[in-house]
Symmetry: C2
Subunit: 433 residues, 2 copies
């Protein structure tokens, strides 16, 4: 049978991984589809200096993405360059020509995916499995697998770099700075680590997943976001004492008021399956009103795991094209989307872990407890590690469920207490898992 | 928009759960699809005595399944009665009328699904997400989510009753018989528990998953199957000493010779995420040549988790019908299936755990070691729990990787040793995880 023809723009990690799969698994892909996927054009900056598997011998190679999008044979455009400027132009050009798009671009999809998709007439596919959680097919799961459920809570570990850093701190007692430096030297972390360690990458992914899971068009800017820079080895010691661990948790919770969304380091019980997610792995835990809890786990990144997502999307879109049907289950479909009013995280109620570093003085606990009581927050426990004293090691107060607003107000009261060496570190203690 | 009309046959746990979701989540389902799903006919033995949500007020209720299949408005037939006799007639009748089928029937699908589906002309949908692993959308994952990968290994925990019994034995040191009895009294286990505890239910599920994952039409009868009746609390003590636990593992491995398939209690490392599957949960762990390892986890059964699978299938099939396309990605599609030559489990190589109960005599270890050496099997360790002696507690020999055939031959040699109180219990020690 005639192939479906593909143009690929961007040959970084993901693009190279996708090409490996398209070449290395071509026979099985053709067997499953009943027709082959054929790469007819490849765009990359340094395309002349690259070598390709012989499967791509006759393929157009260019440094100009327009040649790919405008190529008369190209039926699906694969955008793998990332960023929000050129990538947006590529998508706009593809839409103008009615060509479906497969993309791994979480940032662009989270910011403008719905706007771009709505410009397509007739609707083209925007397939973006690769944009979230690398090798985990969480889009397929939410779009089709558990489509009938009404999701109430979604927790994700969506940034592999952060999870790697946190588990290194946990397992080796190394400081954040030292782990980050080692990760950068080994090529696991970017020279500018902010997008990862400050939570922005995870935030984009949570916005996309929330749109898909809850049918609300979430803006990344509405998501309360806090990174992992302040998490120290001693926080893991205290967390373990509480039978918990610490992960950068992307949380989306359906409440009567609307969705409450946050990306922040959080304590989760060691008994939950989510606590078993170590190193650069990603995971998503979903609770539905009907299906109860399900959990999905895999590599968060890497050329081949993410390449599987890209090529699986290509297979799905190619199948749909052969059936001449448009994108029926886009995360951005009008039929999915509900009106969305951002709910501030301040109304969210949770138990909290508060960690203090102080200069030794009498009456510290009394003053901190007074600030908490003034906001009607009940103390659950005061923890101090063995062999510690108030001076050389931080101590921890855990509090019973209170709103984020109350906890922030109490922390504001503490700001005037001159025995504090640094502001308290507050992390929610997740009970739902 | 006009609804897609549905007929449901069977109102046990799964049928009732599906109805709850069709009634309780109707608005969200219509929003996602752009049209409603409408139940127009329900068949159940005691249908007159049952009460239904008011959403189903005008629905045809009958005890004769033919009235549902033949109903001129019914566009999709949902078969939820189980078994292989009437269910087969229902499917054959639906096919004759060109009506797609949604089913939770693992036994029938594993035995005859492909034969039945191939009789349909044009091809109708056979959607069977609910047949395996309840609330885990493993069909959607394998069919679409990671379709581009070439799967090399699949491990499943696919029988919730067995997993519940094993984790009860593990956590409370209770005997198999006592746990089973308690489970039966609580309604968690069937009066005739054989299908569960002897592995036959899990075997059907592994056959279906293997067909989907590897594109080979696996017959349940070709799968080596061993239940959990012989697993004792002391086996968990030894397994823990080895940093492992014991689960009923459904394994499918792609080898150069073909697929090697087995359902049997196995030792798995406690560090693997699969070891965190406790109680009635199910899970599937998949390794692909490109996507590396992914893992899927959720409720193995229950009206609502399984109902989510049924209704999600209904949504997919209804979407496809609106697009007037046949079943393009059936697990039984010709294009998927490769010639399949069953590979006997005897060629599989693994480390093994061998547990012995003996009468105290001199020279026992020497004789057992001689039997192993005669089959070229190397001993890894000899384990005895503290405070045990050869008489009152079993002991364990672990051996280095050997073929199942060699291990069986060694065990056959041991059969003549009259100090054995019962045949040795042999379980593979899974290293791939």
């Amino acid at each position: 049978m005639q192939p479906v023809n593909i143009g690929i723009i961007g040959l970084g990690n993901v693009g190279s991984g996708a090409l490996d799969i398209l070449a290395g698994n071509a026979a099985a892909i053709e067997q499953k589809l009943g027709f082959p996927l054929k790469v007819v054009a490849i765009c990359s900056r340094g395309v002349d200096g690259k070598t390709f598997p012989s499967a791509f011998d006759g393929v157009l190679r260019t440094a100009d993405w327009r040649e790919v999008v405008n190529h008369p044979s190209v039926q699906i455009v694969v955008e793998l360059i990332g960023g929000t400027t050129t990538a947006r132009e590529i998508l706009e050009a593809a839409i103008l020509q009615g060509k479906p798009v497969v993309t791994a671009n979480k940032e662009l999809m989270a910011l403008s995916g719905a706007d771009l998709w709505r410009k397509s007439e007739p609707r083209v596919h925007f397939a973006m499995e690769a944009s979230v959680a690398g090798g985990i097919p969480i889009h397929a799961v939410l779009r089709e697998g558990i489509a009938a459920d009404r999701i109430t809570t979604l927790y994700g570990i969506l940034n592999g770099t952060c999870n790697y850093i946190l588990t290194e701190i946990e397992e080796h007692g190394t400081s954040f700075d030292d782990v980050l430096l080692a990760a950068q030297q080994a090529g696991y972390a970017e020279a500018d680590p902010s997008a990862d360690v400050d939570g922005f990458d995870a935030r984009s992914k949570l916005a996309i997943l929330s749109t898909l899971a809850f049918g609300e068009l979430v803006s990344p800017g509405d998501i309360f976001t806090e990174g992992i820079r302040r998490v120290t080895p001693v926080d893991f010691e205290y967390a373990h004492q509480l039978n918990h661990t610490i992960r950068l948790i992307c949380a989306a919770r359906r409440t009567p008021a609307g969705l409450i969304l946050s990306v922040r380091p959080s304590l989760i019980p060691q008994s939950t399956i989510l606590a078993g997610v170590r190193g650069a792995y990603n995971a998503v835990w979903v609770r539905g009103e009907f299906g109860a809890d399900t959990f999905y786990y895999g590599r968060g990144a890497g050329p081949h795991p993410t390449g599987v997502a890209v090529v699986s999307d290509l297979m799905r879109v190619a199948r749909e094209m052969r059936q001449a049907s448009g994108d029926r289950v886009s995360p951005f479909a009008h039929a999915h989307l509900e009106d969305y009013v951002p709910v501030p995280v301040t109304v969210h109620e949770s138990a909290y872990y508060l960690r203090f570093r102080v200069e030794d003085k009498p009456g510290i606990i009394a003053q901190l407890a007074t600030a908490l009581a003034a906001e009607n927050i009940s103390i659950d426990a005061v923890l101090q590690l063995p062999n510690a004293n108030w001076r050389n090691l931080p101590f921890v107060i855990t509090v019973e469920p209170a709103t984020e607003a109350a906890v922030r107000a109490a922390i504001a009261r503490m700001a005037q207490m001159n025995f504090l060496i640094e502001p308290p570190l507050a992390m929610p203690i997740e009970k739902a898992l």
